[in-house]
Symmetry: D2
Subunit: 344 residues, 4 copies
């Protein structure tokens, strides 16, 4: 059974493991003050063309979101997210556990936020009997596999500035977004557009690790205190430092994401050729084809993947996820199975 | 410059890295439901002779403490710790950030709690105008390098049961404790004596990882919810599972700790032979010799370690920490330097 | 300008003020342990026919909701409320500030919850990646002036029991509910149907004060700790005790609510006679007539009340609130103005 | 049995009750936007000679402390208090429940903080592994009945400014402090010396009510949001507004406090004349005489008061509290009983 369930089914890219081995016995400072972490931060700044951002390495997405968002907000502030946003649904109330309400926008199939959607939330929160919306949370790619265009992000950025809202981008799958055919953003655009974002390592070839990039000066102060308080500062911070150093030393981060996207595209093309459609356009490493239940029964016998939502009595949208580790043979086998079934 | 600053200066024991490499491309479930994590939990239960404990893998000490303690306490409950306890001093108010007061006992040089000390706290909190003490936190080894005897832990255990207090042991350095010459506890004793404890991996040869062991049935329910909410559930949970599997497959966990202790003992003996004393008896991988400032000036030029506290105008207690990775040559060099200096 | 903006525009019923004066110089214990509070609690228990409930007096609705709900839930638990529920919208994120997510049900114009609506929330929260729904919050009357029937509450009660959910009723306007023509619940029914509810004093003739009634044994323990911790325990607890004693000594609580309802009914009848309809059926002391904007312009010159929502380009639903203090002359004047305008 | 247990045993000064009656049927805005609250705030500003402070009325001390302190601090910030400070001991962990550690100073019998004591706390918190001390909390009078001199407050003020610490004064018994013989502070001095303080009404003649005065511009923003979120905003805000208007319309606030102090002084003089001493100098409405246990046995049969602490096997320090309501006959009777007993 080959799995297309998610992009964290395997370990790490071999080059990363190799770097861990090579550096293993070097003695370093703890808690993120090691040379690897410092170098990795410098390297990321170079890649972004911005020496003034602050970069911190954390271990996972939920941890990064809760640590950062709770650090930035005052007690009466709320975050705004798509109703499908990861912080709203899949983090066991992590943001609320730090005291903050997540206000939601019904964002449609693609899971994207728009200025109009945010404006509705602002209009509904005029005074002190309600929370004060203060941070806009988006994910790129979204939880539904969509990718923001530069224009969309620029519009949101302008809107946030005009309304004194912090603009936060969850980049758990930023690699897939930036290497998507639907993308026209560059990593170096982000510091000019958002207040904070993170570059996801866990879902793009690292054992674990997310690089939080704080672009807004007002949000930089004392961030290491928040990390320590939330249990987000590894004693062996080298572990995340070394990995990001490897991911960004050359082009590994983008190469791995491009591979994931290419594999997803290959599956999408097969599905398209077989005459099936998608819940949302397949542009990233998460695709959501709508397939007949009879076909799915067969496919589930060979492959692991999630049923996403019932479309009608005979069709279901499923989620297929590829990654840096996805084998082309498995992709070919999947498409082959599909074709065979269809032509039967 | 060789470092005796802490026990997390290097990466991981090579056997652990090797296991990561060997398992790297196996596809597994995420979030701790992989086979390695499940096996590691079973293995730990066997080593403890208790199939009924619940075991969860987290990434670090502060994270483990805050996730577990906040899961167990109701809003008005407080934890009791030695004034030197890690949760009281060195976790940036992580417990308070989850809403709970940490009540402290002046515990003396060794950092140990006693029933008498806890009783004083209970006596001072008689009614609803004050928090209700509910959990007793100890560390073994303590933050000052001391090791609890079985009798001491039994007394605390009985006291806690009699007073309806949860008994929690922070085992960040449990390996060093259990292999100390001052120890008469066995790993398998702990589930009978405490309600919860954790087995520290980070400071004993793992890249990261702590194994939380919940022994009290009343505290087991829904624990994975708390982990997820606090950002303590790794997508690639295999990372901690594989490491603990390796640490406990044979005797690696204890071998590594024994090495750390042996190295500390060797330094201690050298210091003792040179005629110097200690702040607390040197029984674990953290030792606190009291040395003349003139000697320290020289040693600091060759070795990295922390000055701990001023003893008098001419003497300072320092902290030397050894680990699984400590090289005997470095230990010998340290003792040699000391001797040379003394005989000058 | 006479105000129909809310039911807390005046002070307290004169009988209550009188009781404050008469008891003023009696020395009493503080923090709710005075004789008046103890007697008031006993009296309420008698009125409910239940000696086993626990009763605590707090100062306002938001305080009562946040203190009680946060006391009952564990960190990963969430409350379920109508999207219009007071805890979701109008308490500045008070529940989230204690760490808990509020999950919402789109509940329609009347603001009532149904088992079907709650079931949808349960279905969407199957595992530890999401919060665990644990408490169902309803308001009677609802924020939209609707009143639950006994059958509706029984159905919710059964559903909650079957699903291990706490059932919590916000009774800020319970007086109006229990004396509504649409009501067939008795105060004494409530302890058999809900786990917790409160009897609102602030909006029914008291200066301030809500009587929280904890019916579920499992939720009674240590409640005074939570009150003190949230700043909800008045040093002069007599202030709420005396008021509830007065409200329930005879029938004052119900008489005052009946007056408020009667005044609302009189306005409703006038509006109905004038040919206008309502957003929701007018059954309590909050009514929501839909009136032409031209008429509203005139009425706003004589009366204070809130525009509630735009219905179409020419009509707006407004909220009119009556209370124990509403003067019949004002009601008559309002109806007269309306009539005059209509016949013009 | 006459009670000297506390200063909240009776209701309110008759003039205050009278004002409640006279204004009772006037319709007003809710939530502190009524004319009485607005006028009371203006009046207080006049009395302080500062039009730029922000004033909010809350219901009790714990509520005021937790709402204000949690509003001002960021998640990693801690408050510094005397070990005897109300927020440290007697508020059921209210500050910690909002996420913040309370760091303590061993402050001696009088319960006063000094710059030296605070400096020690600062020195012990140098980096991000520990909380960041940010707010200094003092009470005037202290929990032990002591009164700060102007010079002491000035020194603390300067120290706080130099160290970027907010300076917060709990004025639950500020009336007694400002009218004490040991006091040389004027109400109008406070806005120049502290960042925030509150003027206690509950313990000085009001039914309930504390006036929070925010002097530091940086702390004023959005404060009403915090009040609402913590359940600290009364629907009938007029209740606190009317009372403070009455207390400060003329000199009632100071007259009542002066009476309380005078009664305490009369008792103190009687105790002194009888040859007994005090735990701390008797300068406010809380005095702590040290009396023989045999004498206390007799006194306890006639009067209610708290035993405070055992001094030796035969002597106990007790706490006697007087108030605006204390009757001179009761004071005389107490002194008489004492004298009689002594001369026996």
């Amino acid at each position: 059974m080959y799995s297309f369930k998610n992009d964290y089914s395997e370990g790490a890219h071999p080059q990363i493991l190799n770097a861990l081995i090579e550096t293993n016995m070097v003695q370093e400072e703890g808690y993120g003050e090691d040379h690897y972490s410092l170098q990795a931060a410098e390297l990321l700044k170079e890649k972004m063309g911005r020496s003034d951002v602050a970069i911190h390495f954390l271990t996972g997405g939920t941890q990064t979101n809760l640590t950062a968002i709770s650090a930035f907000l005052r007690p009466h502030h709320a975050a705004i997210a798509a109703i499908t946003g990861h912080i709203n649904v899949h983090e066991t109330g992590a943001i609320e556990a730090t005291g903050h309400k997540v206000l939601t926008v019904n964002s449609g199939k693609d899971g994207k936020l728009t200025p109009a959607g945010i404006q509705e939330v602002l209009d509904a929160h005029p005074d002190e009997h309600m929370v004060k919306p203060k941070l806009v949370y988006i994910s790129d790619t979204t939880e539904n596999g969509a990718v923001y265009t530069k224009n969309e992000v620029e519009q949101l950025s302008t809107f946030c500035k005009e309304n004194y809202l912090y603009f936060y981008m969850d980049g758990a799958r930023l690699g897939s977004a930036l290497t998507s055919s639907a993308n026209d953003l560059d990593l170096s655009d982000l510091p000019n557009l958002v207040d904070v974002f993170y570059v996801g390592g866990t879902k793009n070839g690292a054992l674990l690790g997310e690089a939080l990039v704080i672009c807004n000066d007002a949000l930089k102060e004392d961030f290491r205190f928040y990390m320590k308080q939330k249990g987000a500062m590894l004693a062996k911070g080298r572990l995340t430092g070394i990995q990001f150093l490897e991911l960004f030393r050359d082009n590994l981060f983008f190469d791995l994401a491009a591979h994931a996207n290419a594999m997803a595209t290959k599956i999408s093309e097969g599905i398209d050729a077989a005459g099936y459609g998608f819940l949302t356009p397949p542009v990233s490493n998460q695709i959501f084809p709508i397939l007949p239940n009879t076909l799915l029964e067969e496919l589930h016998q060979q492959f692991n993947f999630f049923d996403w939502e019932k479309v009608d009595d005979e069709h279901t949208a499923v989620r297929l996820v590829t990654s840096w580790a996805t084998k082309e043979e498995a992709v070919d086998a999947f498409v082959e199975s599909l074709k065979k079934k269809v032509t039967e």
